[in-house]
């Protein structure tokens, strides 16, 4: 597969962060997440979106249209189902950061992208904890 440009990597991360932000906002509206946990996760995602948009301001952008995945509606039926859905979404986003933090051409961006990646990993722990799981280490 052809190596993606910095712009493509960053646009992809932004789209994923927006998807997470929308999911937590919807879950809070529908009481599908513990409010304290949901607010923390939502606020972190807002900061990630802000930081990525700020970084992308220096590029000739090709923004992606954000579409809510159909599974979100089904996931919002209960805290349990939303928790599972959000863990999977965080996992996919962390995987995208894992690639981007290593592959991005600007070395100065690797560390901050890694920092957001670690935050995503910690989000999955918060979600597992909110589901009452004993083990936080996958």
């Amino acid at each position: 597969m052809a190596r993606r440009s910095d712009l493509e990597l960053l646009e992809d991360l932004l789209a994923r962060e927006n998807r997470l932000l929308s999911a937590y906002e919807a879950a809070l509206r529908r009481d599908a997440i513990d409010p304290a946990v949901g607010e923390m996760l939502r606020d972190h995602e807002r900061e990630h979106v802000r930081a990525l948009e700020q970084t992308l301001a220096g590029y000739a952008r090709n923004p992606r249209a954000g579409v809510a995945p159909p599974e979100l509606n089904a996931a919002l039926r209960s805290r349990q189902s939303f928790g599972r859905y959000a863990i999977a979404l965080e996992g996919e986003t962390v995987a995208a950061y894992t690639e981007a933090a290593a592959a991005i051409g600007r070395p100065g961006l690797r560390q901050p992208l890694g920092s957001i990646m670690c935050c995503g990993a910690a989000h999955a722990v918060a979600l597992r904890q909110s589901l009452g799981e004993r083990s936080f280490v996958p």
Binding site: D43, A101, L109, G114, I116, C118, C119, V125, A126, F136
Partner: protein, 182 residues
């Protein structure tokens, strides 16, 4: 006023001593195989940190019970996997992983842990240092392959840090950026 050393600084200092002891002093120098700038030296430093952490998590587990102990043991197991991966990477670059120390030698350089709270605080400090070390490595490792490996381990470290913070009753992430900012 005389400068004072906080408990956290003392704990961190103990880890730094253990890692430094692993990197030099009694250990033989790395083999002459890897080329300068290959990343082998940096991987060797990460390996030393992982080995010290494996020993430290063993000490921490002794102070813990129930889910806290299970989680810390699971973290220790993953750290062993990280150490094996780093050893392979160093060998792949033509180097030879230094032998490290015995658990007893590491234990002598750690602070005395007298309670579960001591153990978890020490564990959190260790994890913060590991996360920081891998984030720095991401910026410095010369090849995409090595950075990808470091990035994968770094995700585990972020997960471990979140888990330990959860066990301490803290929010799993200190903030939106685990260290630094975009």
């Amino acid at each position: 006023m005389a400068p004072s050393l906080t408990r956290r600084e003392a704990l961190g200092g103990a880890l730094a001593s253990a890692v430094l002891a692993s990197c030099g002093g009694g250990d033989p120098p790395p083999s002459t195989g890897p080329k300068p700038g290959s990343g082998a030296a940096l991987l060797g430093s990460l390996l030393a940190l992982e080995r010290a952490a494996i020993a430290a998590f063993g000490d921490c587990a002794e102070q813990l019970n129930g889910p806290a102990r299970e989680n810390v043991r699971a973290i220790q197991d993953q750290e062993r996997g990280h150490a094996r991966r780093l050893e392979e990477l160093v060998r792949g670059l033509g180097g030879e992983a230094p032998p490290g120390h015995t658990a007893e030698e590491y234990a002598r350089s750690f602070p005395r842990l007298e309670s579960a709270e001591d153990a978890l605080r020490f564990a959190e400090d260790l994890k913060e240092r590991e996360v920081r070390a891998y984030l720095e490595a991401l910026a410095e490792l010369p090849s995409l392959e090595l950075r990808t490996q470091a990035s994968r381990i770094c995700v585990d470290e972020g997960n471990h840090l979140g888990a330990i913070r959860a066990l301490r009753g803290l929010p799993t992430a200190q903030g939106p950026f685990v260290t630094g900012a975009l």
